[in-house]
Assembly symmetry: C2
Homo-oligomer: 220 residues x 2
DNA sequence: TAGATTGTTAATCGATTAACAATC
DNA sequence: TAGATTGTTAATCGATTAACAATC
């Protein structure tokens, strides 16, 4: 963990406050570094990477230097090293188990997504109320009755829950998950969740997303 | 370089250059206004709405005033009027047909999503290379052989294509779509597309999204 | 009218880009 | 070493918030 840096008056140990804008860019850096690595590229300068990624070299270096110095003057960055450092920063070296609440089309699509596996995420269970879905398996992962949530979370190390259920049910299920110890909600329901401050929420609002395309088509 | 268009010397008629940050907030305003409308709320002040939405009243008014003045001093905003104005701005009063390329789990999940319908989007066709999928229907929408793309696009008014196919195929399919006249790509493949400047791209990078949750779990 | 609230300008804040000394 | 490129500070740019005159 990058120690150093100021701040941390109380219990915040590792990093200073990183802006959401920076955090959102990290996975993309990680993806490009992975591609470079697989292509056998050993080292890269901020300038060359920035050209490929269509960002400024300055921004890339500023972003990185929130977490420490990973390069070498006159040389650039070692791709393999930086890739793994980025993975570490993103928490991909820890086990990241995920449960999916709502085993409909979208929940099943997530469970089937191989990209998650290859980045260290594991879907370890789906949950639903529909008897027709309960008991089936998706890519080897079982669909459980949602009444099994309590015992399942007690018996498994899981911090992240994806919500792929109707918007009417999302808020109450989210609260229940938080009570059971879930720390992060990946919310696909088109509703905003009001949860305690320490619970992390990442919204994937598909309707909002498609609307921005519609806006641009009709206005530019 | 981000940022397109310099001034509106030529044909850009309606709106000045709106920042992406503003555009991204519009669908959320629209959603809240719709909720208010359905709840029978007739009028609302920027202050009250901002409290509900957890934004500043100032930001809401600034955002709106990019498009014109929709309120009345001393009164606030008429919910129904503003809702429809927002819909108009977002292009939701036009017909927005969508085709989906890749009829796997994610493509089917999108085709099944009722939220799109209720906001004026219509999925009018899915396309795949897999003979097992071709000919089936999802929520009444047929899955066509991808060889039918040309004729289908010629025969239908469609500007938006969703890409829910493997990342290896996404770039070439995107180019083909552009050649066929598609104006906007809703890209679910974990890859960046390089397309002509006038083509609109909205990425939904699910792996990037889940990684930001992982980051936050492990760093805050 | 008086009170309320917008539309809009001005001030602040934060994020991005530029520049360059440090250094490999 | 000399050249290259980082890490980091300074300058710029853009976005958010505050303030208030206009006005319903």
């Amino acid at each position: 963990m990058p120690d150093n840096n100021h701040g941390n008056h109380s219990d915040r140990i590792n990093v200073k406050n990183i802006s959401p804008a920076v955090i959102k860019r990290l996975p993309r850096y990680y993806r490009y570094l992975g591609d470079l690595l697989r292509n056998g590229v050993v080292r890269i300068s901020s300038n060359e990477l920035s050209n490929r990624m269509n960002v400024t070299a300055s921004q890339f270096r500023q972003d990185l230097n929130n977490f420490g110095g990973f390069g070498q003057q006159g040389y650039g960055y070692n791709v393999e090293f930086l890739y793994h450092e980025m993975g570490r920063i993103l928490g991909l070296e820890e086990k990241n188990n995920i449960i999916i609440i709502g085993a409909g089309n979208l929940g099943q699509a997530l469970a089937n997504n191989q990209e998650f596996d290859s980045n260290g995420f594991s879907i370890i269970g789906l949950f639903d109320v529909n008897p027709r879905l309960i008991g089936m398996t998706v890519r080897g992962v079982e669909v459980y009755d949602i009444d099994m949530l309590e015992s399942f979370i007690r018996d498994h190390e899981v911090k992240i829950a994806a919500l792929t259920l109707p918007k009417t049910k999302a808020p109450q299920v989210a609260e229940r998950l938080v009570e059971l110890g879930i720390r992060a909600i990946w919310n696909f329901a088109p509703v905003d969740l009001n949860l305690p401050e320490d619970i992390m929420i990442e919204n994937v609002h598909l309707t909002d997303s498609i609307m921005t395309l519609s806006y641009r088509i009709h206005n530019q």
